[in-house]
Symmetry: C2
Subunit: 363 residues, 2 copies
């Protein structure tokens, strides 16, 4: 985990053309290092190995939004003038544990004494969301599968994706059932990964390669699914998006590309609605229409998303920022979207108790 | 864990005369909830139960300095004008696990693949520090024991202390060996606990009851003990103290009372030196002189410290702030120090890879 993190940090430092001694604070997102690999106190553990010393080094945990949250706090501190140069990173090493134990570790992001004790794992919770969305809005299995097909196609063009495998709608529909209506193709991957970005005050950022954080917000919601009034929407998504749009002075219509939290295909459909990309209940039709494909009007998850790029939980939020930065710089190769200027990242924790939304602008 | 946290949050809200709906962000320190009680994603888990919704809710992990770090980030955000009213809290529930498992969970704050794999637990690491301090500076077992005797006496006067038991120097010296030269009386307690404080912008804080954060800093050091040049001092302590003194515009001489991180008695002796309360190497003589007793020139750990008040890891940092606030308000009852105006809290993570130092002033 340490080597993986240091590799990502070194790439970020090199890209920003600074040394570790210029880093004024270190923000690390990690969900469950102690459970996955037995190591805790992770921020100085990683920072020390990367040559970052004598500055605040802190681990942020917000389930699958851990590094989205680390990034939020890092950006907020730089924007407020506390620091000029910081690093936000994320890491998770998940593959050292057998799958049943991984499921158990992930379930600890839910209400362990409540929904988890009653037998709900995360696939089960999102299956309930999917079923309700189908019942309420006529969303279909084909709608869900179209998200998987798109994200696998995008991921096949991303050299950093975990599972670079193109799938057909038929394959997605006939996948091994995990929690009905979700098949294995509706579920994100168990991955190892790390991501890091350098955040600088605007007047310090190198011209030509930097992107601007135009808006950012983190929000929260009731913890367990059964406490929510409507499980087909996440109020934390909606609030974080509203704040981020307001801060950026833009609307959903202005967003040209997005990386969203497709931990399950239904989550991408719900995100489309919560972010205002389409009307409530229309998410299924919207994704199936091709609007979010690589050549669509608003490409979503051009990286391959959590579904194909992979979902090393604590790294995912900062990973989304990296992927969008690559797009806004025009360095995305085969998956490059033409001339996108405004991008959005949405990172979700648990069954929606945490959400972070970021709006990035090419400069 | 949820109930314990909510109890502390409700006490803080009541004390500040505000409701949970006025809280703009929630900062929770917790070291190892997933390992101790199997629950992760802890910030919205706790906040949601306390009625705090729709705002950034984030867990901070920095080993035994987890809530010191949460407090640092919370204060920094309010001082920078990001928020006007936030809560910083900490919680740990440790007693549901058998002691050998607690030792293992705590050891994950050290270098698991290095010093821990070689057999070092935290008592062993601090025993090495103690031995080196004895060798280098003539510190004695009696010096160590005098810290335990003082802190137990103070804790006996604190209704919120875990172990309200007065001990003699003879008892402390003849305690069961844990890791020589440390006996059971040199080691802090395995406790359950929670603490919470409301942090407000200066112009919002109620007069008469508030204390001012005059200086605060978090710093870091090499991760493992064997990477440090000198194990009888923690550079993170020294750097955090220097920054906090500078921010507050005071020197060590100005500090009238302190809560320091006595995870082991040797840690309090090292802290005396690192904070500049006495010269390097003189910590043993200093604590044995009575200067840090309740009626001494600079009382230290009037709460009883981690040794007697207890050490619910993730709650300790904010707990120190609570204890000093009680002192600065003159509400400490039997353990009240006369007319203290300037107080210092020092919270350490791991074997010194993280340190947070806060300076509080009565207003």
């Amino acid at each position: 985990m340490r080597l993986l993190s240091v590799e990502a940090i070194n790439l970020a430092l090199k890209d920003a053309e600074i040394g570790p001694d210029q880093v004024e604070a270190f923000y690390l997102g990690n969900f469950a290092g102690p459970s996955f690999v037995g190591q805790n106190h992770l921020a100085p553990y990683v920072a020390s190995a990367a040559g970052i010393h004598g500055v605040p080094c802190t681990r942020f945990e917000a389930a699958c939004a851990s590094s989205g949250s680390a990034f939020f706090h890092a950006v907020t501190a730089v924007a407020a003038g506390v620091y000029d140069v910081v690093i936000a990173a994320g890491v998770e090493v998940m593959t050292k544990q057998p799958t049943p134990r991984v499921t158990e570790i992930l379930a600890a992001a839910g209400d362990v004494g409540g929904e988890v004790a009653a037998g709900a794992t995360f696939p089960a919770l999102f299956a309930m969301i999917a079923r309700r969305h189908m019942y309420q809005y006529g969303t279909t299995r084909e709608h869900l599968a179209s998200v998987a097909v798109k994200n696998h196609l995008n991921g096949s063009k991303n050299p950093q994706a975990h599972l670079r495998k193109v799938i057909t709608l038929e394959q997605a529909l006939s996948g091994k059932p995990i929690a009905e209506p979700l098949t294995v193709y509706d579920c994100s991957l168990i991955s190892d990964g790390a991501a890091a970005v350098v955040i600088m005050a605007a007047d310090r950022a190198p011209a030509g390669r930097s992107v601007r954080v135009k808006g950012i917000a983190q929000s929260s919601d009731h913890f367990a699914l059964d406490q929510k009034e409507d499980i087909t929407t996440f109020s934390a998504n909606r609030r974080a998006a509203a704040h981020a749009y307001q801060m950026a002075g833009v609307t959903a219509d202005d967003i040209e590309i997005a990386e969203v939290h497709d931990c399950f295909t239904i989550a991408e459909i719900v995100a489309m609605e919560d972010l205002g990309f389409c009307a409530k209940g229309h998410g299924g039709h919207y994704v199936a229409s091709g609007a979010t494909g690589l050549t669509g009007l608003r490409p979503v998850n051009t990286s391959g998303g959590l579904k194909s790029k992979g979902h090393p939980v604590g790294a995912t939020g900062v990973g989304q920022i990296c992927d969008l930065t690559i797009q806004l710089r025009g360095e995305a190769g085969e998956r490059q979207v033409k001339s996108a200027q405004l991008a959005l990242a949405q990172n979700l924790g648990g069954s929606g108790a945490t959400a972070v939304v970021t709006i990035l602008e090419a400069i």
